[in-house]
Structures are given as C-alpha cells and as structure tokens.
C-alpha cells in the first residue's frame, strides 16, 4: 500500500501536467462533431482537476523542500533533467490552473465562433504548459514550458478574438518573447558555471558560494530574470500589452490570461528573483516597490475612467498584481504569504469577472458601459453573482480578497510605512472603480430597451459561476487551510540560508563534480 502511494506520488505531477495534452491529442484526432469535442475537453479538464486534488490531500506538512518530486535524465548533453516538484506555493498555483480550466471550457460552450476543435486543443495545450511552468524544477524545463504558453495563448487571441485581435496577439507575443530572451541568457549562464539546470542544485550552489564569478554576474542575472517576469506580471511600465490582450481575447483566453498567466510572473519573481538572489532583491526592493505602487495607483486611476468594461477589469489587474509584487518585495512573512494568497484570489475573482463580462457580451455584443444600465431587473441572479465577485475583488471582509490585501498591507506597513499608506489607497480606488462599474451597469433606469429583454444566467452559466463565488467565500473565511501550506514554504524562500549544512555541503560537492564533468 505504501509502495502504491509512493508510486502514485512520483507519478502524479506528470499526470496532472500531461493529461490535458493527451486530451488535446484525442480532440485533434476526433471528427468535427462539436458536442463530442466539448464534452471531451470538459471531461479532460475535470479529470485533471480531480488528479490535482491528490496533492493537498497527500501533503506532508512540515516537510522541507519540494514534494511529489520526480527527477529523471532527459537529455545528457546538455545535462537536462525532467525534474518536477511542488512546494506550498506552487501547489496552489497548479490547483488554480486545473480549477479554472473546466470553467473556461464551460464559458466557451457557445461563445466560440469558428474552429471549435482547434480552440479546445489550444486550451488544453495551454493548460499543460501553464502547469508545467509551476511544477518544473529544472530551469531548462521551466523555460520550455514558459515559452510553450506563448503560442497557444497568442493563437487563442489572434484566431478567436475581437476586432483588433491580431495587433493584440502580436504585441503579446513580442513583449513576452523579447523579455524572456534575457532570462534564457541568465539560465545559460548558470548552466555554463554549474553544469546543471537543476533549481535546487543551483540554489544550494549560490548559498554555499561555490559558483565562480557569481558575485560579479549576480546583478545581470537578477535583471535577466526580472525583466522576463516583470513583463509577464505586468509591472508598470511594462504593462501596455495587457489591456490590449485582454480586450481582444475571447472570454476563456482572458480568464486564463488573468487567472494563471500573470501569476507566472509573480511566481517567477518569488521563486527566482527573491529566492535565488536575496541580496540583489533587497538592494533593489525600494524601486521595485515604487514601481509596484505606481502600478497599484496608476492602474486603478486608469481603470476608473475606462468606458469599456473589459479594459476596466484589465487595468484593475495591473493594480491588483501590483499588490502581489509589493507583498513579495517587502520580504516579510506576512507580506509574501499575502502575495501568494492574493495570486490565488486574483485568479478566482478576476477570472470570474471576465467570465461574467463574457456572458454579457454574448447577449449584447458590446463591452461599452454606457450601453448598459438597470440590468438588475431583467437579470437578478446574474446581478447577485456579479456583486459577490465585485465585492471579493474589492476586498470586502469575509471574502477572499480581504485576506490577501490585509496580509500584504500589514507586511508593507512593517517594511516601510509609506508602502502601506500608498498601497492602502489602492484598496479605496478599487472599491471606487468596481462599485461605480456595478452601479452604472446594474442600477438606474433601463436606457436601452433591448436590455430589458436580456436573459438571466441560465443553468450552464450558473454552474460555471456558483463554484467561483463559493470559492471566494470559502477562501475568505477558511484562509488557514491555504496559509498553513503556504507559510512554511514562504519561510524557506525568505530564509534560504537556513538549509541544513549537511545537505548544502553534499550538494555543493555534487556541483563541483558536475562542473568538472561538464568541462
């Protein structure tokens, strides 16, 4: 029995990562029968989600390092390993990915125009790539998955988006591609110096100071990673691709973009910049946090004046992701915990907001706020669900957003009071633009007669929205369930020097041996 659990534990991450792509393959070979394709996609994504629940249910609490690890040689020269594993931070991001994908399938049930088959193939490939980013512990593998997210997402925007979709798709691709080239250079540097792509090996080698020339190069390496992640987050002033991509993307694309792809940036900042380069990260924290604060306030102010709902939510993402970056670069336990929690919250609430907007768009084919008004009368259920999600995004106590923002801001205050003071204004702004959006859309007179006839949320839409609202509520009241697993891993990231000496020396000798053999 123990063997069985052991076996399934080492297999589970591989399964979670590659079941979606297997589903994509099945769909690609199926005849073009829309119903069968949709159900296959839904079943595949639900199966993946069910598999991912294995992770928290078999979690070994208190264990150091990465769990469910699997490490096998992929290519011998260069020395690339198939090394997967999750800690308390990445495990939740994996589950966020697998949780959101079935809903993306559901919201695309009727809204996809054009090649349905290709759409679901792309979506499932994207799921594999996103999961791969969070579970990879080999830098090379990480880079492969990182780049692999680009093409399905760009194609999803470009093939199924709205009017300016091609511009948005190319902009998205170029921004992220160009930025990640610098990360590749940093990764190659590590390989040349250590003869390994392994995250754990490199981390230990840095801590034991056994990498030649690291101190001289650290600054450049830090920026190599930082640029790639800052563009992805997106941190002000690298954010200009995001509103375009969001506005033009189909609903499912927006949900995955906001829900998961942006988190790859913050995850990378935490996993690489803050953990591998603590000295450089502390040194540059001030201006990074200033950029994050500018992002919070600027994103909120721009969101306030948007006439287009989707653009409003897109700018709100810039603002909310600013909180995550701020939390990470306070280097306080609370701030980083909050940042990780806020990544999950943002995935749920902004994902749900995009789903809601998509449903409205299916009915009226416009995102202009002035086209709506008084929708609460014809669409009461929809309006209620929208309100819950809005409040979760605003950060109302008892809902999930509050927990994350509270932790981040407490961390920010203890780091430097001005971080906290300016950051707090972001909460007020977000209440402003979101509630104003709600008021203009749902309250008041029905100005356009066509709006009086709009259908309320139907069964499929309710099925896809109610779990999101439920999650927002559960994560608001039962946050310890999550924090309990996040906390120890954050602690390790913040104090990486406390890796026990025995293992550090062991691995550093390995590094020396490896670098010798590589030469």
């Amino acid at each position: 029995m123990n063997d069985l659990i052991q076996g399934s534990n080492s297999l589970i991450l591989t399964l979670i990562t590659f079941v979606p792509v297997a589903g994509a393959l099945v769909i690609a070979l199926m005849p073009r029968k829309d119903g069968a394709i949709k159900w296959t996609a839904l079943i595949t994504s639900l199966l993946t989600f069910a598999l991912s629940l294995h992770l928290p249910s078999h979690w070994t609490s208190g264990a150091r390092g990465f769990q469910f690890a699997v490490d096998a040689q992929w290519i011998s020269s260069p020395n690339i390993h198939y090394h997967l594993g999750v800690d308390g931070i990445s495990v939740w991001l994996v589950i966020l990915t697998t949780f959101l994908t079935p809903f993306c399938v559901l919201v695309s049930w009727k809204s996809v125009h054009g090649a349905l088959k290709e759409f679901f193939v792309l979506m499932l490939i994207l799921e594999t790539a996103m999961t791969g980013v969070f579970v990879s512990l080999d830098l090379f593998l990480f880079y492969v998955f990182w780049e692999a997210t680009l093409i399905p997402m760009a194609l999803m925007i470009g093939m199924y988006g709205h009017e300016r979709r091609i511009y948005a798709a190319v902009k998205f691709f170029l921004y992220t591609m160009v930025a990640s080239v610098f990360m590749l250079a940093a990764i190659i540097w590590f390989y040349v110096q250590t003869g390994s792509f392994d995250y754990v090996t490199i981390q230990n080698a840095i801590q034991s100071g056994s990498i030649a020339g690291f101190n001289r190069a650290a600054e450049f390496l830090f920026f190599g990673f930082f640029i790639a992640f800052a563009v992805k987050v997106p941190l002000f002033p690298f954010h200009t691709w995001l509103p375009d991509a969001h506005v033009e993307a189909p609903t499912a694309g927006s949900v995955l973009l906001a829900g998961v792809l942006l988190k790859m940036g913050t995850y990378g900042l935490l996993r690489f910049n803050a953990t591998l380069f603590p000295a450089q990260a502390h040194e540059h924290a001030l201006w990074i946090n200033i950029l994050a604060l500018i992002g919070i306030v600027y994103g909120a102010l721009v969101a306030l004046v948007q006439p287009n709902m989707k653009k409003l939510v897109a700018y709100s993402s810039v603002s909310h992701l600013g909180f995550c970056v701020l939390g990470i670069f306070t280097f306080t336990q609370m701030g980083v915990d909050g940042a990780v929690y806020q990544m999950l919250n943002h995935g749920i609430s902004t994902g749900a907001l995009f789903m809601l907007l998509g449903m409205l768009y299916e009915r009226r084919h416009t995102y202009e706020i002035k086209e709506y008004g008084g929708l609460a009368t014809p669409m009461p259920v929809y309006a209620t669900l929208f309100l819950m999600i809005t409040l979760s995004s605003v950060g109302l106590p008892l809902l999930n957003g509050f927990v994350g923002e509270f932790l981040i801001l407490s961390g920010a205050f203890s780091a430097w009071k001005w971080y906290g003071i300016i950051g707090t204004t972001g909460v007020i702004w977000s209440a402003g633009y979101l509630l104003w959006l709600y008021q203009r859309t749902f309250y008041g007179e029905i100005k356009q007669p066509v709006n009086a006839l709009l259908r309320d949320a139907d069964g499929r839409e309710r099925i896809s929205l109610i779990p999101m609202v439920a999650m927002a509520l559960i994560m608001g009241v039962a946050s310890p369930l999550w924090i309990r697993m996040i906390d120890p891993s954050v602690q390790q990231s913040l104090r990486p020097t406390s890796v026990n000496a025995a293992s550090a020396t062991k691995t550093s000798t390995q590094v020396v041996a490896m670098s010798k053999s590589a030469k």
Binding site: A148, I166, V181, A185, Y191
Partner: protein, 505 residues
C-alpha cells in the same frame, strides 16, 4: 597511410554512386516517353541519394585517407555526407509535383541535383585545397544551372546569371587564397599546412625555409571571402535575396542548405584544421561577419513581403548564428556548428518545401498576403510550416532551439559575451517576421477567390514534409545522438585540439 586501391574506392563510394546515378538518369531520360517520365526519374534519383547515404554509412566503417591523402573519411565527413544526401533526397521528394506544375523537364533537373550533390559531398571529405576547389566548382555549376530552371520566368534567368557571375567571382577569391597559401607554406594539403603553420618551418625543394605568416593570413582571409559568399554571410550576402526569389523553390531549398552545409564543412576544415595558428587573425574576421550577418539578415527580413525573400534574409541571419560557433573555442564551437548545420537543414528544407508546393504554377503565390487563411484551407501545410518557422525562430522543443542553444552556450563558455548579446537580441527581432507568417496563416481570412483553390496533399511533398518535421522535432526533444556524433566529428577534425591552447581565447 599507404594508399590501398580498394579502400580508396570505398572512400569515395558515395561520390561514385551519385555520379553513376546521375549519368544513368541522363542516359535513360531520352528513352522514356516525354510525358509522365518525371515521376519515374524522380523516384530513381531518390533511390540514388538513399544508396549514397547507405554508402556513407558503410564508409564509416573504413575511416582513413585515400587517393594520395586528398580524401579523408572520418566521423566529420560521414556526418556531412549523410546530411547532404538526406537534403538532396528530401529536395527530390519535394520536387515530384513541383516539376509537373511548373512544367519543367525532369531528366536534367534530377541529374544536376545528383551531380551537385557529388560536389557537396566531396567538399566535406576533401582535405586538399585544390580538390576542395574542384568540388566547390562541381557543386556551384550545378546550382547555377538549377537556379535558372524556370526558363520562362525572367526572374529565374536573372537569378541564374547573378548567381553565376558573383559566384565565379567569389570562387576566384577562394582560388587566389589557395595559391597564396601554397606560396606561404609550400603545400595545398590541409594537414601539411597545419604542420607547417605550427612549426613555422617548411621544406621548399629540399631546403628548409620559414613560413610566411603574413601571406598565410591573407590566404585565409581570401578563402574566407570565397566561402563567405557560398554560405551567404554578410558582407558577401548581397546576391542572396534576388537569387532565392528567382530560383525554383525546391532548388532554393537545396541551395540554401546543401552547398551551405558543405561550405561550412570546408570552412571548419580550413579554419580549425589548417589555419590553427592564425587563429588570432581570423577571429575578428569571423566575429565581424557573424555580427553583421545576424543583424543585416534579421533587419532585412523584417521588411520583406515576399516569403522567399524573407526566408533568404533569414538564411543570412542563420549563417551569422553559425559563425558565432566558429568564433567560439574550437572543442565546443565545432560541435555546435555541426549540429546547427543539421538542424538548420531540416527546418529550412521543410519551409521551402511548403513554399514550393504552395507557390503553384509560375510561382504566383509567394507573397505574405497569399498565405492568409492557409490554416483553414490546408491545415497540414500550415501546421508544418508553423513548426519550421517556430524552429527557425528558436522556440524550445524544436531543433532550432537546441542549435541556437549550443551555439550560444559555446559562445558564453568562450567569453564571447557581446556576440551572445547581439545574437540573442537578433533572435528576438527575428521572432517578429517568423511570427508574421503564422499570424497571416491563422488569423486572417482567406482572400477572395482563393477560397476555392484546393491544395491537394501530394504524396512526394507530404513525405518530404513529414520527414523534415519529424527530424526538426526529434532534434528538439532528443538532440543527444546527433550531438554526440557532432562531438566525435569535431574531435576528428582536430586531432591536435587538446594540445593546441593557442586557439582557445
């Protein structure tokens, strides 16, 4: 080292096979009915290249020298033999339907491809400068003619003449370099030259004399000009876009990979095999050419609307990436360059195979807008072209990525930080124009009137596409075997590389 007559023949077996096959094609072509003979001749030539490939594998069991030390069979030459035969085989496969739609006579076409292949194969195994020159001419003259094969099109004639005039000029440079090298070292054999340059002593008509290093430097530079033209590296690249635009698409597939691979093999032999001690001088030559090729190639490609011209500029850029490996330290750089050649050949032949099939009669459809909606009209063609373009762009899990990776890895190991930075920035620029084709194929609606244009899956082309796509992905997922072989080839090339520390900068 004693020339054994039997083994000498084994050591030129692929060349013999290809020559005989080419002659047979020429002889039987008039005997066959004019219509419908393309196919059978094509299949026959295809078999010829496969037999030549098998001969190369067989040859690998008998490494050594042949023909008075003018030929050397080792892992290095076998690697290039197999590569070049494979390129020709796939080009022939991709030409089956193309010749029909373009109404080109098959006999001379296939025979010239086979003869050209003889030259290319010989280039990679020759270790004597005059023989290299002869091989270079054999391959060049075939390609000059092939470039003009669309007789009715003025652009094709222009392409042929341009290629011929500039090409002859460039080979003259090479020959001049050979002459000067002979003057400097008293020999045209690469290994004698290598010894002479290392010891600084030569024996001229029985009496010892000093090597003239100045003359040797000039000789290497002149030979570099000649080869630089063949591989289309800047600043000797001006001819490329015009020639590629006019020449028949399958010929471009051959031209942009086969002679290039052979020319890079020659360059590797000359720079690393012979001119070891002049390393310091040619380092900057290669460095500047690499930086220029990458930058000019990519910037030029950005502006193109014709897909063939775009790929022409992209091939200039790829020559630049390859030269980065030349600038790197010998032991790692050579292997990276060899791997790059193989991986570049797979993706580029594939890309041109798609272009050739899609261009239709008279090569009408070669502009960017003609590709709009290809994703809907022909999913297979669009999907394979996307794989090749993504590989050219260097996305992970494709051969193009590992090729770039090894090159830049070698460059960083050799402390060529600036060249690496230039290369990486260039790859980022390149993503724009490769992506543009994919965007046009998948995101634009098909043009009016072309919706109905059916693209039949032709058997020859489909086979060529499947083979190249599989190789491209295989090199991106399991590059180990090819890299191992490239490493062994690199060591063979430089028996002295471990001792010679002068090369490593």
């Amino acid at each position: 080292m004693t020339p054994n007559p039997d083994l000498s023949y084994v050591r030129i077996l692929p060349e013999l096979v290809l020559s005989v096959w080419g002659i047979i094609v020429m002889v039987i072509e008039p005997l066959l009915p004019a219509r419908g003979s393309h196919k059978s001749l094509g299949v026959f030539s295809f078999i010829g290249t496969l037999v030549a490939m098998a001969a190369s594998f067989y040859q690998a069991n008998y490494p050594g020298w042949g023909w008075f030390n003018m030929i050397r069979v080792d892992e290095f030459s076998v690697f290039f033999h197999v590569l070049i035969c494979a390129i020709s085989a796939i080009v022939i496969l991709a030409s089956f339907e193309y010749l029909d739609t373009q109404q080109i006579r098959g006999g001379e076409y296939y025979a010239l491809i086979l003869f050209g292949t003889v030259g290319m194969v010989l280039m990679s195994s020759a270790v004597e400068l005059v023989l290299i020159f002869i091989a270079l001419e054999i391959s060049s003259i075939s390609t000059y003619i092939l470039a003009g094969f669309r007789r009715r099109a003025a652009t094709s004639a222009e392409s042929s003449i341009k290629y011929f005039l500039l090409g002859s000029f460039a080979t003259a440079f090479f020959l001049y370099g050979v002459a000067l090298m002979f003057g400097a070292t008293g020999s045209t054999s690469i290994y004698t030259i290598s010894n002479a340059l290392q010891s600084g002593q030569v024996t001229v008509s029985g009496s010892p004399a000093a090597v003239s290093y100045g003359l040797a430097y000039v000789a290497v530079a002149l030979m570099f000009v000649g080869i630089g033209f063949k591989v289309a590296s800047a600043p000797f690249h001006i001819w490329t876009p015009d020639v590629y635009e006019g020449a028949p698409a399958p010929v471009v597939a051959l031209m942009s990979t086969g002679p290039k691979a052979a020319a890079f093999a020659v360059l590797l032999r000359i720079l690393f095999g012979a001119a070891l001690d002049t390393g310091k001088s040619w380092f900057w030559l290669v460095w500047i050419s690499a930086a220029l090729s990458m930058t000019l190639g990519n910037l030029g490609a950005l502006l193109q609307n014709n897909v063939k011209r775009m790929l022409a500029y992209s091939s200039i850029a790829h020559a630049g990436y390859l030269l980065v490996a030349f600038a790197a330290r010998g032991d790692i750089g050579i292997a990276a360059a060899i791997f790059y050649t193989a991986s570049y050949a797979a993706m580029n032949v594939g890309a041109f195979a798609v272009v050739s099939h899609f261009s239709r009669s008279g090569e009408r459809y070669v502009n960017m807008e003609d590709y709009s909606g290809l994703g809907k009209r022909s999913p297979v063609l669009a999907a394979t072209l996307s794989i090749f373009l993504l590989s050219l762009l260097g996305l992970p899990a494709t051969g193009g990525f590992f090729a770039k990776f090894y090159v830049f890895n070698a460059a960083i190991k050799s402390d060529l930080i600036w060249l690496t930075v230039i290369g990486l920035i260039n790859s980022a620029i390149a993503s724009y124009y490769y992506l543009r084709v994919i965007v046009v194929m998948y995101m634009y609606e098909p043009q009016e009137g072309e919706q109905k244009l059916q693209l039949h899956a032709a058997p020859g082309l489909t086979a060529a596409l499947v083979i190249t796509a599989v190789i491209t992905i295989w090199l991106g997922v399991k590059p180990g075997n090819v890299l191992d072989y490239a490493n062994r080839g690199a060591l063979r090339l430089l028996p002295s590389v471990q001792q010679s520390s002068k090369l490593s900068r």
